[in-house]
Symmetry: C2
Subunit: 507 residues, 2 copies
């Protein structure tokens, strides 16, 4: 895209000192200074960058974000002196050397992350050291509690409060759009905070945003849940567990998903919204986060133990993760699919079965259904239209149009059918390749962009049958996606790699 | 100190995008973009920061250091698109997961560190992962070679070329000021690059700067060495092994000194100056980097093996590291002490013995002296005045005054004697506390600042005898040092902790 250059006056939270001045007060790059404005009485700490040329001796360069705290005018004299290293750095060093974080040390670090008292490099060091040397369950509990304590919390007077989470890794996993209204329709409370897509084609918050606003402070989340039983909001706007969002940012460049951090991340959000009962969906299979059932069980035990330590009852469902849930990927397509099920559609089976199973576990744990009866109860709440009615209330209280119908939600106007090159069985749909295509087509930001999969794994297809359709809101994105599809080869039919075809038909 | 606020327009090598634009081209904080200026044909990569407010949609904020490469004018339209992650990030991730770097991977990373293609957080991740999971000898060799290849090199036509290094950790270790002139006086070449103090009270480059300029490009280092046989310069100015300086910067906040990195750091500098013969001084003892002789021998074997791999002959000397070398700490005091030995002083014994031992090893390795005769030969070069004459040539060729005498170099004008509180033996001088006091007094930046120690460990003292003198160039620094000394208690006499005295006498 075309952008216009502007040389500008902002950057990070640090300050810039001439190297002579830095020597004089005995600080080096990465050290900290205390800056005091005697007129206003304000005082802030900042990391030091040194320069031989960009500021004159006697001048301190103050970046705008830092000056939001300091509030000094141009030309104001300030007192600058070297500041001590925060204890967090020693704690992080201990972890590098194989040590364990205490509760107090964990809280020091989490507070310093939130207040930006640690620099990006220092937070990276924390993330990497914790990833390599790991966190034991005590440390995970400390991290969970510190993450909760340093953010907003919700406390309900009526219990039980239910929550659910999917650890992700399977595309098209739109079950929250069914589970939340089913649970709320049963009379339970389910204040669901969700994420936006990071590397996927759409987080639940991206999906819900098709139907209603999703950004609310924690207090509003509580009020709305008390009124209608459930919400589906974006967690990032609530200031619940804000440290977690920051930590994830520093994991992102390395595509790491450290186990201890992940446990604390999930459970802090459940704990902070006051959940008593938590169902965790763990998709298992090749190309998901959890490769096999043993690994899934181990993770489940960890979630359950952490829940016990925090006073929450946790159950986990290992689910089939090798194939997408339902038939669609991308905001409008997924929302249309979920709404149609609420409206009474009896397909797609994978979406309905999974949503009812997860809902059923929660209904049994909460005592709404007898053991073994949860699935049927969930099915009845869906069949009777009570779940649809509840979803309309949820959409309305979040500020959307409660009368929206599945048919109102349309995919992008530009589309392309990918067809079978010969007769055979679909023996593989590569989830990662499908997600990549959906993202290239514009998902999740272009709501109409995504994929509609007509022939899932195991389906018999004839030459020329459509296997999936690519949708996009912009023609150039569609073209780019088709181009990329030629080399990504997301579908295998009977062991043959699709040949590359130079013309418009690419399979 | 008082500084004046200036809100300014510079920062890091990144660019700032409005979050809408970042979404549109599918990049997040920490991702990379390619920016092309079609008018000039220039194209650069940069890390992305996103903002909701600091730039408008349609505008890209370009920080000044990056624009040095891009050269775009204000208001220029540029093409911006997401760029691929460099392979270095995958290499670093592999090390996090316990893998080993190949030669090619190491070179990728080192090149990306130098070109700032890796962000500070990413370089931190490399440093931390290498520290925690370690580097084996193959990886250390790769790192050494990559560090050499990405910087300036010196190649001498006449051999052998000698070099020495002390791994540090013992204060007052001014032996380079004696070893270099002794070796050069023997007819050998010794192009010594040295560091400045990081956490110590003075690096060799800080000391030499009292006598002459120390900043020269590599080509000048070569020419000067060819003319007079030796130099003592600051390595940071030569662009020899520049990656090493950067890596050390990222180790600094955590005070780590990773073994593999340290081996590569030392040996890359020796290899890059074309050394054939290297003597490594390894101070051993409590409160040094190497706690005991076993650890010292292990490190020595690693230096020797790395030297063999690179075609350099290495010998190591384990030296006594628990007590400072000579009697002084701080630039002027140390230089005065070293010059006085060159001028014929027969004290301090610890400085003379250590300098002659290290010199003797090199003389024997180079074939200048028979085995067992190196020490005596070094002593004769010193006694005869040849080493002094050589030092004058070195000072002159670096642009200093060759006629300088020890007595010309005076410590700071403000001083304070620390005296024995009672009769007894000095049973401990705490090196770290002494270094802290020297730094507080102003060392190494204030050349006159430092300590002169009159009574070393084991000395019998009477009540009121001076144990050491603190010197400073500025009165307020002296006062601050005296104040700090009251709590640091750097000296123990017969097991009694010095009482704290509220008045001027603090022992």
């Amino acid at each position: 895209m075309k952008l216009t250059v502007k040389l500008l006056d902002i950057a990070n939270r640090g300050v810039l000192l001439h190297s002579n001045d830095a020597q004089f007060i005995r600080v080096r790059d990465g050290d900290r200074v205390q800056i005091a404005d005697e007129e206003t009485g304000r005082s802030v700490q900042a990391h030091v960058d040194t320069t031989g040329s960009l500021v004159e001796p006697g001048v301190i360069g103050v970046y705008r974000p830092l000056n939001d705290a300091l509030g000094a005018d141009e030309g104001t004299p300030v007192e600058v002196r070297s500041a001590e290293r925060p204890p967090s750095l020693s704690h992080i060093k201990k972890k590098m050397d194989g040590g364990r974080f205490t509760k107090e040390e964990t809280l020091d670090i989490v507070k310093d992350i939130i207040s930006e008292n640690l620099s990006p490099g220092e937070i990276t060091a924390y993330v990497i050291a914790s990833y390599i040397n790991g966190l034991d369950m005590d440390e995970v509990e400390h991290l969970t509690r510190a993450t909760v304590e340093t953010g907003e919390r919700i406390q309900f007077t009526r219990h039980p409060v239910v929550d659910k989470h999917s650890i992700g890794g399977v595309p098209g996993n739109k079950i929250t759009l069914l589970v939340v209204p089913i649970i709320a329709a049963s009379g339970l409370r389910i204040p669901k905070t969700s994420s936006r897509a990071i590397t996927g084609a759409g987080g639940t918050a991206d999906l819900m945003e098709v139907l209603a606003p999703v950004s609310f402070p924690a207090s509003e989340v509580q009020k709305m849940t008390e009124k209608v039983g459930g919400v589906i909001v974006w967690g990032g706007a609530t200031n619940i567990a804000p440290a977690d969002d920051k930590i994830i940012t520093y994991e992102y460049p390395f595509r790491i998903d450290a186990r201890g951090q992940m446990l604390a991340s999930v459970m802090a959000k459940k704990f902070a919204v006051g959940a008593d009962i938590v169902v965790i969906d763990i998709p298992v299979g090749r190309n998901t986060k959890i490769e096999d059932v043993q690994e899934g069980r181990k993770l489940a035990r960890e979630f359950i133990e952490l829940g016990e330590r925090l006073g929450m009852r946790v159950e986990c469902a290992l689910s089939y993760g090798e194939s997408l849930v339902g038939r669609t990927i991308g905001p409008n397509l997924e929302v249309r699919e979920a709404l149609s099920v609420l409206e009474g559609a009896t397909e797609p089976n994978s979406l309905i079965q999974k949503s009812l199973s997860i809902s059923g576990i929660a209904l049994e744990m909460a005592g709404k259904a007898a053991y073994g009866q949860g699935f049927d109860m969930a099915a009845e709440l869906l069949r009777s239209g009570k779940a649809l009615e509840k979803m309309r209330q949820i959409i309305e209280i979040q500020g959307g149009d409660p009368m929206v119908k599945a048919e109102d939600i349309v995919p992008g106007e530009y589309c392309f059918d990918v067809r079978a090159p010969h007769d055979g069985y679909v023996i593989e749909l590569n989830n990662r390749a499908l997600v990549t295509l959906a993202r290239l087509a514009g998902s999740p930001y272009d709501h109409g962009a995504g994929l509609d999969i007509h022939a899932k794994k195991g389906t018999r297809v004839k030459k020329g049958d459509p296997i999936f359709t690519i949708y996009a809101d912009r023609e150039w994105r569609l073209e780019r996606t088709i181009e990329a599809g030629r080399t990504l080869m997301p579908v295998l039919i009977e062991g043959m790699v699709f040949e590359r075809v130079p013309a418009e038909r690419w399979m």
